[in-house]
Amino acid sequence: MPAVSKGDGMRGLAVFISDIRNCKSKEAEIKRINKELANIRSKFKGDKALDGYSKKKYVCKLLFIFLLGHDIDFGHMEAVNLLSSNKYTEKQIGYLFISVLVNSNSDLIRLINNGIKNDLNSRNPTFMNLALHCIANVGSREMAEAFASDIPRILVAGDTMDSVKQSAALCLLRLNRTSPDLVPMGEWTARVVHLLNDQHLGVVTAATSLITTLAQKSPDDFKTSVALSVARLSRIVTSASIDLQDYTYYFVAAPWLSVKLLRLLQCYPPPEDASLRSRLTECLETILNKAQEPPKSKKVQHSNAKNAVLFEAISLIIHHDSEPTLLVRACNQLGQFLQHRETNLRYLALESMCMLASSEFSHEAVKTHMETVINALKTERDVSVRQRAVDLLYAMCDRSNAKQIVAEMLTYLENADYSIREEIVLKVAILAEKYAVDYTWYVDTILNLIRIAGDYVSEEVWYRVIQIVINRDDVQGYAAKTVFEALQAPACHENLVKVGGYILGEFGNLIAGDSRSSPLVQFNLLHSKFHLCSVPTRALLLSAYIKFINLFPEVKITIQDVLRSDSQLRNADVELQQRAVEYLRLSCIASTDILATVLEEMPPFPERESSILAKLKKKKGRGNLPVIDDTRRNVNGNVEHAEKTEAPNQVSTPSFTDLLNLNSAPGPGGNLLVDVFSDNAALSSTDVCEENFSRFVCKNNGVIFENQLLQIGLKSEYRQNLGRMYVFYGNKTSTQFLSFTSSLSVLDSFSPQLNMHVKTVDPVIEGGAQVQQILNMECVSDFTEAPVLKVQFRYGGMLQNLAVKLPVMLNKFFQPTEMTSQDFFQRWKQLGAPEQEVQKIFKAKLPMDTEVTKAKIIGFGVALLDRVDPNPENFVGAGVIHTKSIQVGCLLRLEPNAQAQMYRLTLRTSRESVSRRLCDLLSEQF
């Protein structure tokens, strides 16, 4: 019963492992391990030189401890020592330790590489193999650098032992994967390909993997491998199973090699040479034939190995996609597997068939298995198999079977595992849209989807249904009627309320003629759901209500009452409150014409790839998603319905999701509805103008903003940590600006660092007039963000909103400091810590002019120090940043390189944040 240990048992190791196994608790285990670590450490440090056996034993113990999941921080050196032992087992343990605990310590890498090099040159095949295994296991760049050029030589040398060739081939493969640039194949290519002819099947097996990897990267260089692979494959598949002796596995001839050869062939298109091509076809036919033969053994290994080759052959057939007979045969074979008693085979058949479904030759053949696949969806007990069935149904779907497949998927969805519901929802949504002949079916399907799996219906899905309904006027009436009916259900999913609210808000008028769905009934129905919904949905409903006011003047009073209620007007949520206030006001003051304009039906959305499809792709990863390929279907004669809908009056429609993203405040010129009435509109919505900001880094006066209506000019003066800015607002029009206000908004992190005080201005600016506003500021500590000036006024009844980033930067609080060369360099050295220096190297954006540069540095606020830098081309400056809390001394050096048109800017201050900010500011100026 006890384990038999072959070779050299290490008694101490066995005792230690037993002890660990006897530990009753994690704590006891850790205690025992720490004891052992202490023991090993003392042995390694002890005066007595350890013999090889002990060293091996301790290294092995460390390895065991590491593999238990504990950290090991010593013993590497001893392991490396073992590499140079002459005793195989010691060497072996040394290599194992290194392979498992790769250490990037460069000294050790050199020593390890040394040991490997010795073994590679030893001409002892067992040592060479150990060394090659180690390289292949570690595969580090350092090893690639050291050995990438030796290994091809070993691989193709005539006197290399077969087992070493095998290791060398796979070692090279590993290095090629990790550092392809270091593995030059050029001169070896032909001889490596020739290994496919080797007598030793083990060598061929290893070489085929290597060649496949290389062929993927440079197919042309390895083209000759196609003929050799076909020849080899042909010999294997036609051999009697005993011919290959030990490479026959459960009566299957060399299954691993066959699979690898078939995979290598998948790097290439079908051979052009006719005889080669027919030989390959013969091979593939033979493999397909064998699948029909009675099994030679009842063992699962036999059928697995045989089918492994079969599935790989089918992959190649699908990859070539050129032999209709083979494709259809493959499909029939897979069809048989669909009902096999082995779960594994059913799984693989479903998976493979997915690929076949996208071939024009076999698509129809795949479709014949639909009932079986649907059945699998209902009866398979393993979720991963059911998932494959869903994938296959999706892949085989076309116009002819879409209704049935979608219906089946919907049925399945009711009981589907939670883990795959969202994906099924996406698939149903895509199929329903893609194959909808009549859009009433589409609308029904999506509403069903929401009913069955509302929680799994992502935003994209219900956005998309609205998008489609808005773009297709033939379905709008039906959609309105259907959502109206669906909303009658006492409990409906919030997603349905969203779709319902949106669609009734747009198209409720289309069903209002029927007294059962009169405007008031519609409104009451929607409003009955209101209180159960989340804020975003309520916000959407409020928009639907204001749309109702436009559509149905008769419910205006009712809706106004609702909007006026405290629960709306004083809602704790700003968004809801704002909507209620604005919509109420809009309904009171706007004329019917304005209302009709503002609340017009949504324009059609621009056509684009379904966002659902994008989501599914993202979810599944491109490789896994069966392609629904239109060209294929076209071959089958089902001409795709062109989905391009005419979209007239497309006035730079913002993207669909933006429009529905009701939580975010609108951008300028975005949503008209909100802009017009945004008396309280969140100012953060306006884009901040930063256009002229950087021009003010080195100067204090100028025009910071100008548009057709308004010009804003600045004059500023600074003294130590205080500053004053005069802001001039010029009305460029002949009309008054009314309700003029301007205020400062400071970004979050900013306020405590800079105190600002703004004097208010007169709310009216006459046409052509200019008013002045004074801003006082105090710099408390160093800062990065600049304050933003928000300006708002009415011009011709339209509210104007703008935001300008004010050029208040840290360097404004500079006081220049003159100093001598000696002082400068002394201080420069004092500020030598890495975090105190910030350096930037950048390309000159403007012509390099010494005088301009000087002026800019002075404008930046520092003293320009002459004759300080030994190089007269360089500029150096010094100054002190004054803040209320501290003063920060600052040295700068700018080194132009006229030839390269580059600058190097170095800033040294005692505070990293200051150095960084100043460097960022100044480096933008040249």
Binding site: K6, G7, D8, Y53, T126, G202, Y249, Q266, Q301, V385
Partner: protein, 174 residues
């Protein structure tokens, strides 16, 4: 189309104890631990009759249980699942032949051998030598090079602690 590449192989017990780990792609220790934890949980939660393949992250996991041990390989999505399953089987055969009716305890106490055998069979995540005879020949040749052979071996049996019944049952018990 990628060539066949195994990303890693894990052996763990029904109790979730990791018995062997072989990584063919560079990963940090932290990442390895995370993967192991997740995968052990996932595989142990599966029922006996379920299929041996599962999609996990963007990989395909192929696993099979032998007595008390789960053998679990992660391969790329396009890789051949069945041949991977047989890689596992061949490895178990090699262990079985080497140890003589292998059981979990053999792998616990001779973990280094389990690694050596694996290296002879798979290298860089690819099958290096699929002939059982050749692999064992390589390992046995190495054993011949060893010293202290029998002396240590016999003592070994004496320090055995009684293992769980499952740990000492042969992997090929059925």
């Amino acid at each position: 189309m990628s060539s066949f590449q195994m990303q890693f192989m894990l052996l763990f017990s029904r109790q979730g104890k990791l018995r062997l780990q072989k990584w063919y792609v560079p990963l940090s220790d932290k990442e390895k631990k995370k993967i192991t934890r997740e995968l052990v949980q996932t595989v142990l939660a599966r029922k006996p009759k379920m299929c041996s393949f599962l999609e996990w992250r963007d990989l395909k996991v192929v696993y099979k249980r032998y007595a008390s041990l789960y053998f679990c390989c992660a391969v790329e999505n396009q890789d051949n699942e069945l041949i991977t399953l047989e890689i596992i089987h061949r490895y178990v055969e090699l262990l079985d032949k080497y140890f003589g009716s292998v059981c979990e305890l053999d792998i616990i106490f001779n973990f280094e051998k389990a690694y050596f055998i694996l290296d002879e069979f798979l290298l860089g995540g690819e099958a290096q030598e699929t002939s059982k005879k050749n692999v064992l020949k390589a390992i046995e040749q190495a054993d011949l090079l060893q010293e202290n052979v029998d002396f240590q071996t016999r003592l070994f049996a004496g320090v055995m602690v009684p293992g769980l019944a499952s740990e000492s049952s042969g992997l090929f018990q059925n």
